[in-house]
Symmetry: C2
DNA sequence: TTGCAATATGTCAAATATGACATATAATAA
DNA sequence: TTATTATATGTCATATTTGACATATTGCAA
């Protein structure tokens, strides 16, 4: 039986582990995914703090509202590159990004 | 005339600015590229500190020596996702990654 | 020198991420 | 209710990133 946490990851399109290793994440996989999801949450926080709509932000990064929505939902189809670019474009500081990195 | 800094970026394959705006980076572009390059340098530092060859690390991340070399060279063809995954696989801590984020 | 391990560079088909678009859902006001 | 704005979800052709491979270069010991 899967944990609800993992279920949620898989709902978002995350391929958790390899085919032969379906239930476990390596610590490295886990750290990477948690870092990414934390940055996605931070993006939503900062965007709303700056009173920007998803469409506003999309325009700034030459993308579309739907892609911003996917980023903020932590969808597996979006790259860290786009999340970081979006954070800066939304007005995040390096400090904001630093603080978004989970402990340990 | 281009700055040597920009020349170096373009040597590494970075598309700096748009076609119409060839000399300037937006502050957001600049922050993103600097963050990425800093993480690439950190990867090399940590890998060597751990006495791993590029091939060793490549094996850990199911990639190839040449891609690790490109990462460490700050080549524009590598994603932040791969750099972050590599950092964790090389044994970097969240603190290491946090510290790699440039100020301001 | 020569030999060998490590790293760098270039290329390419396959895999993945992309913006754009349609459309669904939610939230809020009139 | 309806209208409107914001956000969510699904799809798809195109663009970018991928691991793999060949091969060049570097560094260093014998």
């Amino acid at each position: 039986m899967q944990s609800s946490k993992q279920k949620k990851l898989e709902q978002n399109g995350w391929k958790v582990g390899s085919a032969s290793d379906f239930l476990e994440l390596t610590p490295e996989e886990e750290a990477y995914i948690e870092l990414k999801l934390s940055l996605c949450r931070t993006l939503k926080k900062i965007r709303t703090r700056k009173h920007l709509t998803q469409s506003d932000l999309a325009k700034k990064i030459n993308s579309s509202q739907s892609r911003v929505a996917k980023m903020e939902a932590g969808d597996a189809s979006v790259s860290l590159d786009l999340v970081i670019k979006s954070l800066f474009s939304a007005g995040a500081s390096s400090k904001d990004i630093r603080n978004a990195i989970p402990q340990s």
